[in-house]
C-alpha cells in the first residue's frame, strides 16, 4: 500500500526527514510538498537512495511518487545528499582571512591567481557578501576570474549582494544568482572550500 506523506507548509529540512522516515517503513510512498525547493530536495534525496521518482504537479502542490528499489535498504545512517560531488568554492569576502584588510586583499588576489594554475579546479565558484566586489569592473582579480570562467568554471554571484552594494550594473564576470541556486549548489557539492 502506498503511504502518503503530507509535507505541505513544512520548512526545510523537514520534508526530506519525513520522506526518509517514510521510506524506512514503506517501499512505496507519495510525498506532497508545496514549494519547488522542497520538491527538489525530496527528489534529490530519493534519487540518492536509488529510488524511482515520478513527479506530478497539481496547482501549487507537487506530488512525488517514490518507489524504493527492491533490494535496497534505506539505512538510517545514509546521507541525505550525495557524498561525492563537485568541488564548490565559496568566496564570502573580498579579503582572505580576518585581521588586516590590506593583507587580506593581497592574499585574496594571490589565491585567485593560484587557482588558475591549480591542477584541480572547482566546478562552481559561489561569491557572496563583500566577495561580489571581486567580480565587478575595476576588480584586481577580474582577469583571473574571467580565465576560470573561460575554462568552464561556473561562477555564481549573489544578486542580493550586488544589489546591496549597488554594483549590479558593474558585474563583469559570472552570472547573477539567487539563494536557491546557491543553496542547491552547496548542498549538492561533494566538497566545499570556503574562503
Amino acid at each position: 500500500m502506498t503511504r502518503e506523506v503530507d509535507a505541505r507548509g513544512r520548512a526545510c529540512p523537514e520534508p526530506v526527514l519525513l520522506t526518509k522516515k517514510a521510506l524506512e517503513e514503506s517501499g512505496e510512498i507519495t510525498v506532497i510538498v508545496d514549494s519547488r525547493t522542497a520538491e527538489e530536495n525530496v527528489k534529490r534525496f530519493a534519487l540518492s537512495m536509488k529510488c524511482r521518482v515520478r513527479l506530478e504537479r497539481r496547482g501549487e502542490d507537487s506530488l512525488l511518487f517514490i518507489e524504493k528499489p527492491v533490494s535496497a535498504e534505506v539505512s538510517p545512517e545514509a546521507p541525505p545528499y550525495p557524498a561525492s560531488g563537485p568541488i564548490v568554492l565559496v568566496i564570502s569576502s573580498d579579503r582572505m582571512g580576518r585581521g588586516d584588510d590590506e593583507l587580506g586583499e593581497v592574499l585574496m588576489r594571490s589565491f585567485i591567481h593560484t587557482l588558475g594554475e591549480a591542477s584541480r579546479r572547482p566546478e562552481t565558484v559561489i561569491i557572496f557578501n563583500t566577495g561580489v566586489r571581486l567580480a565587478v569592473q575595476g576588480s584586481a582579480v577580474l582577469e583571473d576570474l574571467r580565465a576560470l570562467c573561460n575554462e568552464g568554471v561556473r561562477i555564481l554571484v549573489c544578486g542580493t549582494c550586488l544589489g546591496f552594494f549597488e554594483i549590479r550594473d558593474k558585474l563583469a564576470v559570472g552570472q547573477i544568482s539567487n539563494m536557491y541556486d546557491i543553496t542547491e549548489t552547496m548542498l549538492g557539492a561533494g566538497k566545499i572550500v570556503q574562503i
Binding site: 593583507l103 593581497v106 594571490s110 591567481h113 593560484t114
Partner: protein
Amino acid sequence: MKGADYCVMLFDSVSSTLLAEKILKRQEIPHKVIPVPRHISSDCGVCIRFSLDLRNRVEPALAGKVEFREICAL
C-alpha cells in the same frame, strides 16, 4: 598570457611588495602581484611579476624608494 616571458621581483616583506606595487601602479607599468612560485621559494610570500622587457622600466621606477631582494626569470 602563457608563453610570454616573465620575471618576478622578490622582496623581504609583504609591505615592501605592496609599496612597490603602488609605485608601479602610479607609473602605469603593467605588473601583477602573485604568490612566490614554488620553485623559487617555499615561503608563503608574494612577489611582483612583470614581463621581461619591462625590467628596464621597473628597476629605475623603484630605485631609492623600495629595496628588492632579487629578480628571477620565470
